[in-house]
């Protein structure tokens, strides 16, 4: 299968690989996918008091397109508000990386990972608010 240059670039030089402290109350974690499906994405975002994403890290078990999709979104997330992050659509990811039809699910997974991470940070924030 022919990968686009952008997929290859992210695959060869993935950005923001790693983990943040999952116990940090300002860190939201999204883990989506399943090993049996061939893709697991873990996305972590650190959000400051203004609701802006200061840092984003990922780890992905999956094909080149899945790795590239998650690497790309970590770049996109930094500096955005969690609302803006929540609005990122898989189609934008697929378009940016020129994913072939059989790889669209990778961009869907990346969108799901963002939503899961945002949901996690919101849950942490509201838990903190209740205390």
């Amino acid at each position: 299968m022919a990968y686009s240059d952008k997929v290859l670039d992210h695959y060869e030089n993935p950005r923001n690989v790693g983990s943040l402290d999952k116990n940090d109350p300002t860190v939201g974690t999204g883990m989506v996918g399943a090993p049996a499906c061939g893709d697991v994405m873990k996305l972590m975002i650190k959000v400051n008091e203004n609701g802006i994403i200061e840092d984003a890290k990922f780890k992905t078990y999956g094909c080149g397109s899945a790795i590239a999709s998650s690497s790309l979104v970590t770049e996109w997330l930094k500096g955005r508000t969690i609302e803006e992050a929540y609005a990122i659509k898989n189609t934008a990811i697929a378009e940016e990386l020129a994913l072939p039809p059989v790889k669209i699910h990778c961009s869907v997974l990346a969108e799901d990972a963002i939503k899961a991470a945002v949901a996690d940070i919101k849950a942490k924030q509201s838990a903190k608010a209740t205390i």
Binding site: D39, V40, G62, C63
Partner: protein, 404 residues
């Protein structure tokens, strides 16, 4: 320009040995007759070459040349054997077929087609080591079993089935026994004079011969009959019509001659290379060899690398040409059905690599491969959330994954 990757995909296809190509070319240029032309020397020369090649193929497997029928490849041989024998004997023996779940698609799919035509089939699961349990095989035989088809060497995991014992079971039960030996020639000794095998498929391009030619062994004692699948000029004693591709047949003959003469020493060298590769790769944590190691051709090593996804692994090791599953099915994203039949999880099936070593593989190739794998697996595990969890002591199989 990048140098071409190191070829470790000999089970998908082998390069044509230069000695084979040199034999073939005169039959493309000066001796271009149609071997069925009986009225002039062009035809006679071609026919003689075809018969010489038939002898070479027969010699490698200790058969009579009259038992060898030319085909366009192992796929056609398998189709001809399975559909041809099942249809011929259905009315006398019955309409049940036994095969193994790990057979090549060129066996599975003709059996499926026969099922659509009213046959029934048992797809026997092999043991976790890939081998057929003889007791279970015997138990699968029914009064109306007409045919059993078991491959000699598996294309993905290289395990060698005990066709001697299976053949005896079949002979005793009156079941026609077909063996797909496409992956076996030149790798394991085959003595058809002593084996209770009725039909055996061969391919040239897996044994350093050309693509587009194969053969089917059709046993004469006892005499096995098959219904032709290709009708026409009545070539190959009516079993398979079609103009014979002389140069390709000559190539197969030469390839099988070389295999016969060099098999012993070549396998020894290849075994050393494979063991070197195995030792090197087993240094890597969490690797699993797929299939039995003892009953296996020396050319094959199939390993799963846990916590690494298969496709990204293939992408990472572009410096070598290998296969993740059978070449014939690797266009699909499904994990290998062969590994799943062994009970491997989808993840391990996904992350399997088939290394197949051959005539032109060197020690340097193997050492490069080990270094490459070590480096890339480390890099991918660095990226893998599953590896991180494993290192944290989390049992991945116990994690509740969101349905996706």
């Amino acid at each position: 320009m990048e140098r071409p990757p190191i070829y470790l995909d000999y089970s998908a296809t082998t390069p044509v040995d230069i000695r084979v190509a040199e034999k073939m070319i005169p039959y493309l240029t000066e001796h271009y007759g149609n071997p069925a032309s009986r009225s002039h020397p062009y035809g006679w020369t071609a026919e003689k070459a075809v018969e010489n090649a038939r002898e070479e193929v027969a010699k490698l497997v200790n058969a009579d040349p009259r038992e060898i029928v030319w085909t366009s490849g192992a796929t056609e041989s398998n189709n001809l054997a399975i559909k041809g024998a099942a249809n011929f004997y259905a009315s006398t023996k019955g309409k049940h077929i036994i095969t193994i779940a790990t057979e090549h698609k060129a066996v599975i799919d003709p059996v499926r087609e026969l099922e659509r035509q009213g046959f029934t089939a048992t797809y026997l699961e092999p043991e976790p080591d890939g081998l057929v349990d003889l007791v279970k095989f015997k138990a699968a035989i029914q009064p109306d079993t007409v045919l059993a088809s078991v491959m000699l060497v598996n294309n993905e995991i290289g395990v060698i089935q005990d066709i001697e014992a299976i053949g005896d079971i079949c002979r005793e039960a009156g079941v026609i026994f077909h063996v797909d030996a496409a992956q076996a020639t030149g790798k394991v000794k085959i003595d058809l004079a002593s084996l209770a095998v009725d039909l055996m498929s061969f391919s040239a391009h897996k044994t350093y011969g050309p693509k587009g030619v194969g053969a089917l062994y059709v046993c004469r004692k006892p005499r096995i009959r098959i219904e032709a699948q290709m009708h026409g000029g009545g070539h190959e004693r009516g079993m398979r019509s079609g103009t014979l591709a002389t140069h390709q047949i000559v190539g197969m003959g030469e390839a099988f001659r070389i295999a016969r003469e060099e098999m012993a020493s070549e396998n020894e060298r290849i075994r050393m290379l494979r063991d070197r590769l195995l030792a090197g790769l087993q240094d890597i944590e969490e690797t699993y060899v797929n299939g039995d190691l003892a009953h296996r051709i020396p050319h094959n090593l199939n390993i799963s690398f846990n916590y690494v996804e298969g496709e990204s692994l293939i992408m990472a090791i572009k410096g070598i040409a290998v296969s993740s599953g059978s070449a014939c099915t690797s266009a699909s994203l499904e994990p290998s059905y062969v590994l799943r039949a062994l009970g491997r999880s989808d993840e391990l099936a996904h992350s399997s690599i088939r290394f197949s070593i051959g005539r032109f593989t060197t020690e340097a190739d193997v050492d490069y491969t080990i270094r490459l794998l070590k480096d890339k697996i480390e890099k991918l595990r660095e990226l893998s959330p599953l590896w991180e969890m494993f290192k944290d002591g989390i049992d991945i199989s116990k994690v509740q994954w969101a349905a996706h």
